[in-house]
């Protein structure tokens, strides 16, 4: 681990010094399941949430699956072995407040917010000045207006308690507990997240947003999100992450299930910027019924290790799936991201565009799966992955898996690896840009066509985030 510590030290030198922005919550949690994972902890969480017996059984079954599954280190990085499940807090909520005022927030953190262009009102929120709960998410601002449309926007506890007729049918169906070890973990201890139902034909104009944060040491966050878009409806959901830095690694393991019924459209946008000690091991999958569209826009900039492969099961005729992914791996970071497209009906199409940038000793990995079984006709997939390597020992890997049968199906996959050309940098420096600025501009150019696909405020924030990350990467 010495290597990573050293990398972290280097990282400090080239980006915002997050350590100055650290803060902790008082350790007086009203509900605290303690440290470690057991059947007792799972029962405790279920009891605190006053869940029905079937949910408790679901959790207990998932815990057994989790215990029975090995770490996926036969294909994934052995860094996973550094997660100490017994040292993690699996649940806490309510009652804890940030012990800081806006005046106490260090200047460089304020400056970062300014440079990222985060609105004044949200800065205090992001700086942890306003009271926040850890695992119970806060997102009530737009609730009222949505209710008029019949949109349900709540947490999993409320969703399963108040609207079981809507959510129970799909809960754990797109991603069963046994899907993988971390999905099983989430299924056992989930709390927080968003349960959303969009009624038939309703097109939600404004994106639904939720900020998730990790604010306690050794505290993993296990959100559970389920979005159901009924026939002909449309919704965009945005998820952004910031997290302060702590000394020991923090685990984040979410499960996100999307259901787009006939003709519905769901767009799910993520900007992931966890601090560099976070293990971010997330399972995201959508189901697209006839003529429906599921689109994942996924941007990973933070965390120590991210493993995330958003997928779409194209279950109805003419369904469409898309993953647009940007990953930036700086020193000590490993962005292991990708996409899965499971074609399960005729005339389905999918598109994957993934761009990654590796800076310093950063490592970015693309893993993909495209599956077209033999019973299908007229399915198409297009996959493009481009990797940009900035420094001499930056690293990139590409591991796609493509399996095709059937009639008139076609897939194409292309990947390329390149670096910013010396000519480009020279050209820009000739015109008065510093080498760093030139590099930053070149990198932004590399991802520009993808960034454009993000909602406006995200694309602006993203460009600035990339600029910040690129500072000090050259020279």
């Amino acid at each position: 681990m010495a290597e990573i510590d050293e990398n972290l030290a280097q990282r400090e030198a080239i980006e915002v010094d997050r350590s100055k922005g650290d803060f902790k919550y008082e350790e007086s949690y009203a509900f605290d399941a303690g440290i470690g994972l057991s059947a007792g902890v799972v029962d405790y969480i279920s009891k605190v949430k006053a869940e029905e017996p079937w949910i408790r059984e679901f959790r207990q079954k998932a815990l057994k699956i989790f215990d029975g599954l090995p770490m996926p280190t036969h294909w994934a990085t052995t860094d996973l072995d550094n997660i100490k499940f017994e040292n993690i807090r699996y649940y806490l909520a309510k009652g804890q407040k940030a012990v800081r005022t806006w005046e106490e927030v260090p200047d460089d953190v304020k400056k970062t917010f300014e440079r990222l262009g985060i609105p004044e009102s949200e800065r205090k929120f992001l700086a942890g000045v306003e009271a926040q709960f850890d695992s119970e998410a806060v997102y009530s601002r737009m609730k009222e207006e949505l209710e008029k449309l019949g949109v349900i926007f709540c947490g999993p506890t409320e969703g399963l308690r108040d609207h079981p007729e809507i959510f129970r049918k799909w809960f754990g169906k797109v991603i069963p507990a046994g899907d993988n070890k971390f999905a099983a973990l989430n299924s056992a201890v989930f709390s927080g997240g968003s349960f959303i139902y969009i009624p038939k034909g309703v097109k939600v104009a404004q994106p639904l947003q939720a900020y998730f944060r990790i604010n306690a040491e050794n505290f993993g966050q296990f959100e559970r999100t389920l979005i159901i878009a009924d026939e002909g409806s449309e919704v965009t959901y945005m998820e952004g992450c910031t997290a302060p830095k702590f000394e020991t690694a923090t685990l984040h393991s979410a499960v996100v299930e999307l259901v787009a019924l006939k003709g519905a459209k769901i767009q799910y946008v993520t900007v992931q910027n966890w601090s560099a000690n976070v293990f971010n091991l997330v399972t995201k999958r959508g189901v697209a019924e006839e003529g429906a569209e599921v689109r994942w826009i996924d941007c990973n900039i933070g965390s120590r290790l991210t493993m995330k492969y958003p997928g779409v099961v194209l279950r109805g005729k003419g369904a469409r799936g898309e993953v647009l992914s940007i990953a930036l791996a700086n020193d000590g970071q490993h962005q292991d991201t990708g996409a899965k497209m499971i074609h399960a009906a005729d005339d389905t199409t999918s598109n994957i565009i993934a761009k990654s940038i590796s800076v310093g000793s950063g490592r970015s990995t693309y893993r993909g799966l495209v599956h077209i079984p033999k019973t299908l006709k007229n399915c198409r997939n297009n996959t493009e992955c481009d990797a940009l390597l900035i420094n001499e020992h930056s690293r990139t890997d590409t591991y796609p898996a493509i399996s095709v049968r059937g009639q008139k199906n076609s897939v194409q996959h292309e990947a390329s690896v390149s670096k910013v050309s010396a000519e480009q940098i020279f050209y820009m420096m000739q015109r008065g840009l510093s080498e760093g600025e030139a590099m930053s501009l070149a990198v932004n150019g590399f991802v520009n066509d993808l960034v454009k696909e993000f909602p406006m405020e995200y694309s602006v924030e993203l460009k600035r985030l990339i600029e910040l990350q690129m500072e000090g990467s050259v020279g």
Binding site: K374, I390, I402, V404, Q407, K408, S410, E414
Partner: protein
């Protein structure tokens, strides 16, 4: 001879070598073989969960029911030698039947005088033990076939060694033909090709079944060492009988400015796995790997490749093309690895699959692991059907559907066939590929 218990359970004791009692006269060689047997017994059979066997039908792997076959009768040998003349005037020809040499290579006095050696493994062991000790099976199997290569090592006997000294250029190809003839025969053909500095050499390896439905177990291995500036080209045709299980582990090392071209063709076997590892150890090296197959019936062709760039400023290019009919399946899994200091590497990898039947399956795992930044690397993989417009064009001119499809498929494959430098070799290959369309 006592039978050692097999940890895998499905191993037939018939595969244990019985000739330990007759030492070869070279302790290191006997030790190498014994080590092979020990490794074979120690290593587990691959399973479905093994990432290196992803998509392979690992469950149906079985080595039971195969055993080395006795020497063929003179009549059988003569008949098969007569069928071994794919090249009218080779530099030399060696023929094995069921793992027994039936035609020893005869080298022209000129080539012998230039220091060229083309001998059976057994002869080479007698004449050049030091050369063999330096090069035999130095690289192992890193792509998942270690257990099978270990069994090959335990049985190391049949095969040839080709040594071309510094500066010698030979235009005519060296040809080796391996046949299986006996039902259930286990064969372990070995090839060792060493090209000295600036040597130029070409080789053709044919692995064939005496009958189209011959049942056999074939575990072959080929090591190529190309020295500075050497030019080596190899055509390897896997045409075992269609009830054969085939494993082929090839290792190639390219030194500075070496140019290596290899074409691996697959038409035979029930299931055939090719593991091809290329090490680019010297700057300026240029390695070209081509693969071609026509899969029919229930055949499974499992192609695993690895391009390792340890030296910078070198190039490797890979193109594997598969045409699939019936219920066949092909798996292409390739990886380009660029070491941290191998700057200015150019490495490419392309897999193209043509599905000619709705029941065929093409799996593709094209991978990159890049640890240097100043590189040009790309890979591409496509799977699709015959182009509708091209088909329409041909049919509009009165060509029946089946013929049009075959023509287009042959056009698809021709790109790789054209890489075979020797015209006779290319023609032999064309004939075998074309025959597959008619038996399908």
């Amino acid at each position: 001879m006592s039978t050692l218990a097999s940890p895998t359970g499905n191993l037939d004791a018939a595969l244990q070598p019985t000739d330990w009692a007759r030492p070869s006269g070279h302790d290191w060689f006997d030790a190498l073989r014994r080590q092979g047997w020990a490794d074979f017994q120690r290593l587990p059979m691959p399973t479905r969960d093994d990432e290196k066997w992803r998509f392979s039908d690992a469950r149906s792997l079985s080595l039971a029911g195969f055993a080395p076959a006795p020497e063929p009768t003179e009549a059988v040998a003569a008949a098969l030698i007569a069928r071994s003349h794919f090249v009218a005037r080779p530099a030399a020809l060696v023929v094995h039947v069921d793992g027994h040499c039936v035609l020893r290579p005869a080298l022209s006095p000129e080539l012998t005088a230039q220091g060229v050696r083309f001998e059976t493994l057994a002869d080479a062991l007698r004449h050049h033990p030091a050369l063999l000790q330096e090069h035999l099976l130095k690289h192992g199997a890193g792509l998942g076939g270690a257990k099978f290569l270990a069994l090959h090592q335990a049985w190391l006997k049949a095969g040839y060694v080709l040594f071309v000294p510094k500066g010698v250029e030979i235009r005519q190809p060296f040809v080796s033909v391996n046949w299986t003839s006996t039902e259930g025969a286990a064969v372990f053909p070995h090839a060792l090709i060493i090209a000295g500095e600036h040597a130029v050499v070409s080789v053709q390896d044919y692995h064939l079944g005496a009958t189209a439905d011959a049942r056999a177990l074939a575990i072959s291995a080929c090591d190529i060492h190309a020295g500075t500036g050497a030019k080596v080209s190899r055509l390897a045709v896997q045409g075992w009988g269609n009830r054969t299980q085939s494993f082929q582990v090839d290792n190639t090392c390219g030194g500075r400015d070496a140019l290596i071209t290899s074409v691996n063709a697959a038409v035979g076997s029930r299931r055939a796995r090719l593991e091809n590892t290329v090490r680019i150890d010297g700057p300026g090296a240029d390695v070209r790997l081509y693969g071609i197959s026509v899969a029919t019936g229930e055949q499974e062709f499992d192609q695993r490749t690895l391009q390792i760039h340890t030296a910078g400023q070198a190039k490797s290019d890979l193109l594997f093309k598969n045409a699939l009919l019936g219920k066949s399946r092909t798996i292409f899994s390739g990886l380009i690895k660029v070491a941290p200091d191998a700057q200015r590497t150019d490495a490419y990898q392309t897999n193209r699959n043509l599905l000619l039947s709705p029941d065929a399956e093409a799996d593709s795992l094209p991978g990159l692991e890049i640890e240097a930044n100043d590189v040009k690397c790309s890979h591409g993989a496509t799977t699709g059907q015959v182009d509708e417009n091209e088909l329409f064009y041909l049919r509009a001119r009165g060509i029946p559907l089946e013929v049009a499809q075959e023509l287009l498929a042959q056009g698809f494959l021709e790109e790789v066939i054209a890489k075979v430098e020797d015209e006779e070799g290319a023609e032999a290959l064309r004939g075998m590929l074309s025959a597959k369309f008619h038996q399908a």
